[in-house]
C-alpha cells in the first residue's frame, strides 16, 4: 500500500474532480436507499388506507429520486472518464521520460516486455483502482452500514439476522478474488510461455522447415497449450462455484426474511410495506458486499503494480551530465580523441573486458580497431559517446575528460553507426537527419550517395517513405547504409563505426569503402572491422587482445610483425 501512497501526487491536480465524484457517489447512494422507504410509504400509507391523494406525491418522489440517482452516477462516471485517462497518461509520460534517461546497460538487463507491461498493464491496474476502487471502497462501506441501520430500525432482530448472514459473504468474496487472481496470473504466465513457443516457431520457421522438425515443435506447443487449458478449466470451475454462491446467499436471505417477515407481519411487528422495503433493501446489500471483495483484491493488485512501476522510477540514471560542465571553445575543437588507462568491467563479471587501454587518435586520422569476437571492440566504442561508462581511466576529447562535457554536447560531437543498424519508424529523411536537423537537400544527397544509399530515392515516396518497425522493411544491408548516411550527415568531430559494412556484399562494400575514404579525410574516426577490405580504410590499425591494445601499426606492418594479427586477418 505504501507504493500506491507514493503515487498520490498524481491525484493532486484532480483534487476538485475527486471531491465532486465522492459527493456524487454518496448522494446517489443516499437516493438509492431512500427509494424502498418510499415504496413502504406507498404500501403502508396510501394503499393500506386507500389514500389516492398521498399516492401521487410519493410516486413522483420515487421517480425524482430514482432519476437523481442515475444522473449523479452519470456525472460521476463522466468526470471519472476524464480523470483516469489523465492520470494514466501523466504517469506513462513520466515513466517514458525516465526510461529514456536511463543508461543503456539498464535496458540490456531488462527485457522490453518487462518494461512494456509496466507501461501498459500495470498502469491500467493503477488507473482502474484510482478511478473506481477508491471511491467504491468508501461508498460501499457507507452503503452497507446505512442499509443495515435502516433494516435494524424496520425490525431489529430481522435486521440483525440479515446482517449476520451477509457479513460472511465479504470474506468469501475476498478469498475468491484472491484465488481467482492467482489462477488468472497462472493463465497469463502459461499463455506467455505458449506465446514464446509460438514466437520461436514463427521466427524460426525456416530452421524448423529445413530440418523437418515440425512434429516436435507441434508436440511442444500442444503440451504447453494443454497446460493453459487445464488452468482455464480450473478457473471456470472456481467461477462456477462462486457464482452459484452469489446466487445462493441473497436468495437464501430473502427466503428467511420471507418466512420470518411474514410471521412478523402477522404479529404486527412489521408492516406489509415494511417487509417489501426490507426485501428490496436487503437486495441492495448484495452489490456492496460482492464488490468489496473485488475492490480490496484490486487494491492489492494496484499496490503490486505501483511497486513494479516505482522500481523503475527508483532506478537513478547512472550516466548524466556533470553538475559543472565544461565547454570546449570552438577554436579548440579538432576531434582529438584519447584513451588513457581505460578499463571496463561488466557489472556482473569477475574479469574486466578492457584492462588498460591506451590509444591516441590524432585529429583527422582513421584508426581501425580489430580483434576476435568477444574481445571488447564494441564495448570500447560505446565508451566514447558515454553509452557505457568507463570503470577506470579516462577518455579525453580535445584534452577534456568526456565526463566533464554536457551529454548533449558530447553526443553532438560524436557520430555513430552500429552493426545492428537501428532505424526509427519515421521517414528516411527524418532518420538520416537526426544528428543534423538543419541539413540541406544537397547535404542529404551527398551523405546518401557516399553511403551507397541512393536506393532510398527509389522507394515509393522517395525520402518521405516511412521506414523502421512500422514502415517499409529494408534488408540488413540497406539498413546499415541508411544508418551510415546518418552518421556521415551529422558531421561529427569524431565518427564511431562498429562494423558498419558487415551486411554488405563485396561489391557494395568496395564502393562504400571508397566513398568513406574521402569522407573520413578530416574526421577523426574509430572503426571496428573484421575484413581485410575494410581495414584498408585505416591510417593505423589497432589490435585489441586480452583487454589491451596489443599492437598498432599499418596493415602491412602488422601483417609482418604480429602473428596474432595474421591469424585474425588471413584465411587459409
Amino acid at each position: 500500500m505504501g507504493a500506491l501512497w507514493r503515487l498520490r501526487g498524481y491525484l493532486k491536480p484532480l483534487r476538485l474532480q475527486m471531491i465532486v465524484m465522492f459527493g456524487a457517489a454518496i448522494t446517489s447512494v443516499a437516493a438509492e436507499i431512500t427509494i424502498p422507504l418510499l415504496a413502504k410509504g406507498i404500501i403502508d400509507g396510501a394503499i393500506a388506507h386507500g389514500n389516492r391523494r398521498l399516492l401521487l406525491p410519493l410516486a413522483l418522489a420515487a421517480i425524482g429520486l430514482g432519476a437523481a440517482m442515475a444522473l449523479l452516477n452519470m456525472v460521476r462516471r463522466w468526470i471519472q472518464a476524464d480523470a483516469v485517462a489523465q492520470i494514466e497518461k501523466t504517469i506513462r509520460d513520466d515513466l517514458y521520460a525516465h526510461l529514456q534517461r536511463l543508461h543503456a546497460s539498464f535496458h540490456d538487463a531488462w527485457q522490453s516486455g518487462q518494461l512494456l507491461s509496466r507501461a501498459t498493464t500495470d498502469l491500467s491496474t493503477i488507473r482502474r483502482f484510482a478511478g473506481f476502487g477508491l471511491i467504491f471502497l468508501i461508498t460501499n462501506i457507507l452503503q452497507f452500514t446505512a442499509v443495515i441501520v435502516l433494516l435494524v430500525q424496520l425490525n431489529w432482530w430481522l435486521g440483525l439476522i440479515t446482517a449476520g448472514v451477509f457479513a460472511p459473504v465479504f470474506p468469501v468474496c475476498f478469498r475468491f478474488e484472491k484465488r481467482y487472481k492467482v489462477l488468472s496470473r497462472r493463465v497469463q504466465d502459461q499463455q506467455g510461455d505458449l506465446a514464446t513457443v509460438i514466437e520461436e516457431s514463427a521466427t524460426g520457421i525456416r530452421v524448423l522447415k529445413a530440418l523437418g522438425r515440425g512434429r516436435q515443435a507441434a508436440a511442444r506447443h500442444d503440451a504447453q497449450a494443454t497446460e493453459v487449458y487445464k488452468t482455464q478449466v480450473e478457473k471456470a470451475s472456481l467461477l462456477g462455484s462462486f457464482w452459484a454462491l452469489l446466487d445462493l446467499i441473497p436468495n437464501a436471505v430473502i427466503c428467511v426474511i420471507l418466512v420470518l417477515g411474514t410471521v412478523a407481519v402477522s404479529k404486527h411487528a412489521l408492516s406489509l410495506g415494511g417487509m417489501v422495503a426490507f426485501i428490496t433493501l436487503a437486495l441492495q446489500l448484495v452489490w456492496p458486499v460482492e464488490a468489496l471483495g473485488y475492490i480490496i483484491a484490486s487494491g492489492q493488485e494496484a499496490a503490486t503494480a505501483a511497486q513494479r512501476v516505482l522500481e523503475i522510477f527508483d532506478t537513478a540514471p547512472q550516466i548524466i551530465s556533470a553538475e559543472q560542465t565544461v565547454d570546449i571553445p570552438p577554436a579548440q575543437r579538432r576531434g582529438h580523441l584519447e584513451f588513457r588507462h581505460v578499463a571496463f568491467t561488466y557489472p556482473d563479471a569477475a574479469e574486466p573486458v578492457l584492462r588498460d587501454i591506451d590509444l591516441d587518435l590524432q585529429p583527422g586520422k582513421t584508426v581501425v580497431l580489430t580483434g576476435t569476437t568477444g574481445s571488447g571492440k564494441t564495448t570500447l566504442l560505446a565508451l566514447v559517446p558515454r553509452l557505457t561508462e568507463v570503470s577506470a581511466g579516462t577518455v579525453l576529447l580535445d584534452g577534456t575528460d568526456i565526463r566533464e562535457l554536457s551529454l548533449p554536447a558530447l553526443r553532438a560531437a560524436v557520430g555513430c553507426a552500429f552493426e545492428d543498424a537501428t532505424l526509427f519508424s519515421a521517414s528516411v529523411r527524418e532518420n538520416v537527419t537526426f544528428g543534423a536537423p538543419d541539413a540541406t537537400e544537397d547535404q542529404i544527397e551527398a551523405a546518401l550517395t557516399a553511403a551507397q544509399a541512393r536506393f532510398t530515392y527509389d522507394l515509393p515516396w522517395g525520402l518521405d517513405t516511412r521506414i523502421g518497425e512500422q514502415g517499409m522493411a529494408l534488408s540488413g544491408g540497406q539498413r546499415q547504409r541508411v544508418a551510415l548516411a546518418r552518421a556521415i550527415l551529422s558531421r561529427p568531430e569524431v565518427l564511431i563505426l562498429d562494423d558498419p559494412l558487415s551486411a554488405l556484399d563485396v561489391h557494395t562494400e568496395a564502393r562504400v569503402t571508397k566513398a568513406l575514404h574521402e569522407i573520413l579525410d578530416g574526421v577523426t574516426a574509430l572503426v571496428v572491422a573484421h575484413r581485410p577490405s575494410t581495414v584498408a580504410l585505416a591510417d593505423t590499425v589497432a589490435l585489441l587482445s586480452g583487454g589491451v591494445i596489443a599492437a598498432t601499426g599499418s596493415h602491412h606492418d602488422l601483417l609482418e610483425s604480429c602473428p596474432e594479427y595474421v591469424t585474425l586477418m588471413l584465411a587459409t
Partner: protein, 613 residues
C-alpha cells in the same frame, strides 16, 4: 452474381486482411467462414452444448420464481396466518422458494463449469490446428504474411475467443433468457403494468443501438491508439543506444506525448459513452419503478390487483434492465472475438502451395556413403512479376560440392531455396536421384536435404537441445561427437554448464559465430545426403570461419553440397564453381580452371587476393 458479392476464390485465405474496405458482401462471406469454423469446432461437443443450454434455461426459470413467490406469500401466506394461525400455505411457499434457490445455484454451478470446459476444449483444438497449419504453410507465405501476424493470430486472436467463453457467454445468454421470461410473466401477472415496464425498451433499444454503434468505433480507435503507443515504446527502448547517441530523446518524448494524448482522447471517449449508457439504463429502471408504484398502487386501491403482485413487480424491476448493460459491455469482447475468428478462419483456409504429395515416391537405396544426384531441369522461377530464373539447367552429380558465385540478385539464394523446397518451380522440375522433389513426403525430403542460412536461429533451451534438433533421438554421446566433428566442442565445453547451458532468448547468450557453429553441428547430426549452405559462414570472424572450413571438409565427404558465399576462401573448398548472372550460369568449372581463365571469377579472385596482400 451482383457487384456487391465478391468472388469467393479471390477472398480465399488471408486476402481479406489486406482489403481496404470491407463491403457488405465480403463481410457476409467472412462471417459465414467464421461460423463454419466455429460450428465445425463445436460439433464434437454437441451433447455437452445441448446439456449446457438446457441448464441455462432451467437456471433462468428458477431465477424467475423468487419474486413471484414473495408476492404469493404476501397475498396468500399472510392472510391465513393472521386469520387462523394456519402456517401451511406459507411453509409450502417457503419450501418451493428453497427448492428454486437450490436449483438455481446448482444449475449455475454446472453451466458455468461446463461452458468453461467446452469453450476451452474448442480453444485448445483451435490452437493445435492453427499451429500445425502454420507449419504446413510455405516459407514464402510466412515471409509475406510476416511472423508478427502469425504470432498474433495464435496469441491475441485465439485469446480473444477464449475471453468470449471466459467472460460469460453463458451467463449472458442466461441473463437474456431471464429478461424474456420475466417480461412474459409480468405480462401474465398484469398486462397493463407489464406493458408499462416493456415500454421502457423503446428508449433503451434506441439507446443501445446508439451505444453499440458509437462504442464500436471508439473501441477500435482506442485499440489502434494503444497499439501505436506500444510500438513506439518498444522501438525506443529496443534502440536506446541509437536514441541516446543521436539525442533523439526530445523528439521521442514529443511523439510519445502525442500518441499518448490520442490514446487518452479515444479511451476517454469510450468511457464517456459508457458513462452515458450505463446510468441511462438505471434511469429507465428507476423511473419505471416509480411509475409502477404510483399506477400499481392505484390498481391495488381499486381492487384490480393484490398488493403482492405489486411487490412482485417492484422486485422484478430491480434488476430487470441490467442484462442490457452486460450486453453492451460484452459487445466489445464479442467484437474482438468475431474479428479474431474471421482472421483465424482465413489463415486456416490458406492452402499450402508446397503441398504434400498425394502419391509419394520412394528414393532408391541408401545415400549415406556417396550423397545423391541433384538435377535442375529447365527450372523457371520468380517472385510476383519478376523472373529470377528464366530456365536453369544444372546437374550436380552425387557427392560433388558446388559453389555459387555472383552479385546480389543473381539468383543464388533462390536456387538454394528451391532445392530446399521452400518454393516450387513455376516450370521445370528439380529431382533428387531422379525423383521429383514434389513427389517426396516432407519428412523424407527434410531428412535428405538440409539448408543452412546465416540466420542461425536457436530455440530456447540448452545448447545440447539445439544440436539435438538435427536428430531428436540422438544420444548425448552422438551430440558431443557431432560437436567435435564440427569443432564446436571446445567452446561448448568452456560454457558454464557445457552442453546443458541455456542459450538464452533466441540464443542471445552466444555470439553470432557460436550460434552458427551450433547450427552446423545440428545439420551434421542430421546427416543429410544434400547440404546447402547459403551464406552460412558470412557472420563468422576469420578464425571461426577457418575452424568451420576445416570441419566442412569432413562434413562434406560423401555428401552432395551447394555452397553460396561471398568470401572466396569458402568457395575454395568446392569441386566446381558456377558464376551466376541474372539467373543464368555464365561460368562453370573447377576453381583452378576459372582462376586461370579471364572471366568474372578470375577478376573477383584477383581483387580478393590483392586485399590480402
Amino acid at each position: 452474381m451482383t457487384a456487391t458479392v465478391p468472388d469467393q476464390g479471390a477472398w480465399r485465405g488471408v486476402a481479406a486482411e489486406k482489403a481496404d474496405e470491407v463491403t457488405s458482401g465480403l463481410a457476409a462471406l467472412l462471417r459465414e467462414r467464421s461460423w463454419r469454423l466455429l460450428s465445425g469446432l463445436l460439433r464434437p461437443h454437441r451433447k455437452a452444448v445441448t446439456l449446457t443450454v438446457s441448464m441455462i434455461v432451467v437456471e433462468s426459470l428458477a431465477a424467475l420464481v423468487g419474486p413471484w413467490l414473495v408476492g404469493l406469500a404476501i397475498d396468500n401466506g399472510i392472510p391465513p396466518l393472521v386469520r387462523s394461525r394456519d402456517s401451511t400455505p406459507l411453509l409450502v411457499i417457503a419450501s418451493l422458494f428453497a427448492v428454486a434457490v437450490l436449483v438455481q445455484a446448482l444449475t449455475t454451478r454446472l453451466f458455468v463449469t461446463m461452458t468453461g470446459r467446452v469453450g476451452q476444449r474448442v480453444v485448445l483444438e483451435l490452437r493445435k490446428r492453427l499451429f500445425a497449419h502454420c507449419l504446413k504453410l510455405e516459407v514464402a507465405f510466412h515471409e509475406d504474411y510476416t511472423s508478427g501476424r502469425i504470432i498474433s493470430r495464435q496469441t491475441s486472436d485465439v485469446e480473444s475467443i477464449s475471453d468470449l467463453f471466459e467472460e460469460g457467454l453463458d451467463s449472458l445468454i442466461a441473463a437474456i433468457l431471464t429478461l424474456l421470461f420475466v417480461g412474459t410473466s409480468m405480462l401474465l401477472l398484469n398486462w397493463q403494468l407489464g406493458l408499462i415496464v416493456l415500454a421502457g425498451f423503446i428508449p433503451l433499444t434506441w439507446l443501445t443501438a446508439w451505444f453499440r454503434r458509437e462504442s464500436e468505433g471508439a473501441y477500435r480507435q482506442s485499440r489502434e491508439a494503444i497499439a501505436l503507443v506500444i510500438v513506439h515504446f518498444v522501438e525506443t527502448f529496443g534502440g536506446i543506444r541509437a536514441v541516446q547517441a543521436f539525442r533523439r530523446e526530445g523528439r521521442n518524448q514529443q511523439i510519445f506525448d502525442g500518441l499518448g494524448e490520442d490514446y487518452a482522447v479515444t479511451s476517454r471517449r469510450a468511457s464517456r459513452l459508457i458513462a452515458i449508457y450505463g446510468p441511462s439504463i438505471t434511469l429507465t429502471g428507476n423511473v419505471l419503478t416509480g411509475v409502477i408504484l404510483g399506477y400499481g398502487g392505484l390498481l391495488v386501491i381499486d381492487g384490480d390487483i393484490k398488493v403482492g403482485v405489486l411487490a412482485t413487480f417492484v422486485l422484478y424491476l430491480g434488476r430487470f434492465f441490467d442484462p442490457l448493460q452486460d450486453v453492451s459491455q460484452f459487445y466489445n469482447t464479442f467484437q474482438s472475438a468475431a474479428s479474431g475468428l474471421e482472421k483465424i478462419s482465413g489463415l486456416l483456409e490458406q492452402d499450402p502451395v508446397v503441398p504434400e504429395p498425394a502419391d509419394p515416391a520412394a528414393l532408391p537405396g541408401s545415400a549415406i556413403q556417396h550423397g545423391r544426384r541433384v538435377h535442375f531441369e529447365e527450372v523457371e522461377f520468380g517472385y510476383r512479376d519478376a523472373t529470377v530464373l528464366p530456365g536453369l539447367e544444372l546437374d550436380i552429380p552425387a557427392g560433388q560440392t558446388v559453389a555459387l558465385v555472383g552479385e546480389t540478385g543473381a539468383g543464388k539464394t533462390t536456387i538454394a531455396r528451391l532445392l530446399g523446397r521452400f518454393y516450387d518451380p513455376r516450370a521445370g522440375r528439380i529431382t533428387l536421384d531422379d525423383v521429383d522433389l514434389r513427389d517426396l513426403p516432407d519428412e523424407v525430403l527434410r531428412g535428405e536435404i538440409i539448408v543452412i542460412t546465416q540466420e542461425n536461429y536457436l530455440f530456447g533451451g540448452t545448447v545440447g537441445d539445439n544440436i539435438r534438433l538435427g536428430r531428436p533421438d540422438a544420444t548425448d554421446e552422438e551430440i558431443e561427437a557431432a560437436a567435435r566433428a564440427i569443432g564446436a566442442h571446445d567452446f561448448i565445453a568452456a560454457l558454464p554448464e557445457g552442453y546443458g547451458t541455456s542459450v538464452g532468448k533466441r540464443g542471445g547468450r552466444l555470439s553470432a559465430g557460436q550460434r552458427q557453429i551450433i547450427s552446423f553441428a545440428r545439420a551434421f547430426l542430421a546427416a543429410p545426403s544434400v547440404l546447402v549452405l547459403d551464406e552460412a559462414t558470412s557472420l563468422l570472424d576469420i578464425p571461426s570461419e577457418r575452424l568451420v572450413q576445416a570441419a566442412l571438409r569432413t562434413v562434406l565427404t560423401g555428401r552432395t553440397a551447394m555452397i553460396i558465399a561471398h568470401r572466396l576462401s569458402t568457395v575454395a573448398i568446392a569441386d566446381r564453381v558456377l558464376v551466376l548472372d541474372h539467373g543464368r550460369i555464365i561460368e562453370d568449372g573447377s576453381p583452378a580452371e576459372l582462376i586461370g581463365g579471364t572471366g568474372q571469377y578470375a577478376a573477383l579472385h584477383e581483387s580478393w587476393a590483392a586485399s590480402l596482400a
